[in-house]
């Protein structure tokens, strides 16, 4: 099982008890009075059978408070996932923090910063790099690229999934779109591994047919779920953080009710991908202050519910290049998410929002992720670490701690040795060509590609995955989607 990082510091609270209660009450009120639209007949029937007020003409579902509370109780506080290699198994929940690689459309050129479709070779290379990084524990579904040279759009999610499972033992998220979930269930079975199903809300307050259909298929296949709310504050959700906490929470809890009614006890990790709307461009305002405030409060509410927490915002920056802005946005937002109790954070590799990706960014993110992970692990205070005897032994100058066994034993656990940060002396920095973190990251990426070999998928399973892709292609061809 992958260890991830263990939070030992007390989680950061931003809301008072009264504020949490008020948001919870407001959420129940929205679920009971306003309700949500579910564009799926089976979902509507299921809700109706379980005491919800369902308007079949408008697809509106209003949920009684007791049903929501009951489904919250049925949701486990943590769940295990089996990978194709037991070393990559996961236990999501509790005080464990894992990271998931980022997702995007295109690869970004590191010299011109132009975006272009990625080749299949670049897809495989990105997956190999994500597999090699210890701080990446899972793969996102539509990742790393969904604009692939020579691959029909409808096939990209499955081609991505195939690349994940062939190049990594790490667990992957399963996209539910245009029936890709049917083939993901087959791939999961073929490789003997769990996948984490994706259930995305369409804000405000709507679950579309595709999402519901994929939820039924994957719940019945036994997949645990990642439910994600992604309001854009001021656009598809209220402009206020408090208001969008209620709308996001209502959306997540409605999805949770659907899943617990479909298969009671389904493992769920609740995801926050809410951020302000960019009031100039109409785009999402990735990694804005508002998204971090929302994440921290959302995480506190989910801790109160004892539901595992997924923070989707940190990996998305508004910067178009790998630069100062991308560094501070990613660093600050992932620290805020981790300190407030996130169990999964999306981080590695996305450069601009969900638009561009580059493995060099993933290599840089490995340092951010490990820094943040180590931060929440805190430090030990005991007789040995307090070292009062040693302080007495060393005394004032010329005493030194550098030659002490205590130093040799402890120093590495008390500081972080980044792989890509520039830390040499000034003369050495000049002598070695004035390198920056970006140079080190490029060198590390190239080194990984030269030397790192992922655990291959056994031949028969590899063939089965290829067969499933062919089957999907035939299916989409027949449907006229290729």
């Amino acid at each position: 099982m992958l260890k991830g990082f263990s939070r030992r510091i007390r989680a950061f609270d931003i809301l008072s008890e009264q504020e949490i209660q008020a948001i919870h009450d407001g959420t129940l009120q929205v679920l009971e009075n306003t309700g949500l639209n579910f564009f799926h007949e089976r979902a509507l029937k299921l809700f109706a059978e379980n005491g919800c007020e369902v308007d079949f003409a408008t697809n509106r579902v209003r949920m009684p408070n007791h049903l929501v509370e009951e489904c919250l109780r049925k949701t486990p506080s943590s769940f295990e996932m089996k990978a194709r290699d037991s070393k990559s198994d996961l236990r999501i929940g509790g005080d464990t923090l894992y990271y998931m690689g980022g997702a995007a459309l295109r690869i970004v050129d590191l010299n011109t910063w132009d975006a272009r479709p990625a080749t299949l070779k670049e897809l495989d290379e990105a997956c190999v790099i994500l597999d090699s990084l210890d701080s990446v524990h899972m793969f996102a579904d539509t990742a790393p690229y969904t604009d692939l040279v020579g691959v029909p759009a409808v096939m990209t999610y499955l081609v991505d999934t195939a690349s994940h499972v062939k190049n990594s033992t790490k667990i992957t998220l399963s996209a539910g779109s245009h029936g890709s979930e049917i083939f993901n269930v087959k791939i999961a079975k073929a490789i003997g591994a769990d996948m984490l199903a994706f259930l995305g809300v369409s804000a405000p307050l709507t679950y579309h047919r595709d999402a519901c259909e994929a939820a039924f298929i994957q719940a019945e296949a036994g997949f645990p779920f990642y439910i994600v709310g992604s309001d854009m504050m001021g656009g598809t959700g209220p402009a206020t953080i408090a208001g969008s906490l209620i709308s996001t929470n209502a959306e997540i809890l409605a999805g949770l009710v659907l899943l617990q009614l479909t298969r009671p006890g389904t493992g769920i990790v609740a995801g926050d991908y809410t951020m302000p709307l960019n009031m100039r461009t109409g785009d999402p305002c990735f990694d804005d202050l508002g998204s971090s405030l929302h994440t921290v409060a959302f995480n506190q509410i989910m801790r109160r519910y004892k539901i595992p927490i997924f923070s989707n915002c940190p990996g998305m920056s508004c910067a178009k290049t790998i630069d100062v802005q991308s560094g501070y946005e990613r660093g600050m937002s992932s620290l805020a998410a981790a300190m407030s109790g996130a169990n999964v954070i999306v981080l590695h590799g996305s450069v601009f929002g969900e638009y561009t990706f580059h493995p060099v960014q993933a290599v840089l993110d490995d340092d951010i992720a490990t820094w943040v992970g180590r931060f929440i692990e805190g430090f030990e205070v005991n007789e040995e670490t307090m070292a009062t005897d040693l302080i007495d032994e060393v005394g004032p100058i010329p005493g030194s701690y550098l030659n002490k066994a205590h130093t040799r034993k402890w120093w590495k656990t008390q500081q972080f040795i980044p792989k890509t940060a520039e830390r040499s002396t000034y003369p050495e920095w000049v002598r070695t060509g004035k390198k920056t973190a970006l140079t080190y990251a490029r060198e590390r990426m190239e080194e990984i590609l030269r030397n790192y070999k992922p655990v291959p998928l056994p031949r028969d399973q590899n063939d089965q995955v290829d067969k499933i892709l062919k089957e999907a292609e035939a299916h989409y061809g027949k449907a006229g989607l290729l």
Binding site: P398, L402, N403, K404, A405, R408, K412, T425, P427
Partner: protein, 214 residues
Amino acid sequence: MSEEILGSLKKAILEYDSEGAIRAVKMAAKNGMDPNLVLDAMTAAVRTVGDGFGKGELWLPDLIGAAEAMQSAIPIVVEEIKTAKITRQSLGTVVIGTVQGDIHSIGKAMVSAFLVAEGFSVQDLGVDVKHERFLEAVRDQKADIVCMSALMTTTAPELRKVIELLKRHAIKDKIKVLVGGAGVTEEFARRIEADGYESTAARAAQLAKRLLGK
């Protein structure tokens, strides 16, 4: 038996175990082993650690730990050499210290460790070393090289003063003077007529070798 003793000596140094190193060296003396062989074994062990440091696999506490374990055993070997009336094999003798008014010791300790790893005999005068003390030590030890460190721009001028003192006593031309530390630049080193400057400890030891034609 000798192999076994040298093995445990190397092991002690690689484990930064001063007491173990002293025990092994005493055992070597008791068995009448050639003290220069004992020195070679220790130098080789410290060099292994220095190489690991150079590759980025080992760190400052390892380097200092190994060098200290060796340095703590050296007085016993030196005594043996005197008793046996043989010549100590060494690349040369280096006197090293941080200049007057400056108490920074880490860079100097690193240079010492690399000098030891190269096979120099090193006399470390410590920190805040008075000008005259450098002069005395160079004379007493018949040193080939004096290494001086200054971390601050305010203490770097002390380097010039020591060099002037060595000149006045007609010693400067007979030895090599190496300077370093964050307060020093190559340009400054040239100006004060030092024989060499380096920006890292590992390269400083290489420079020391080159200056002696080794």
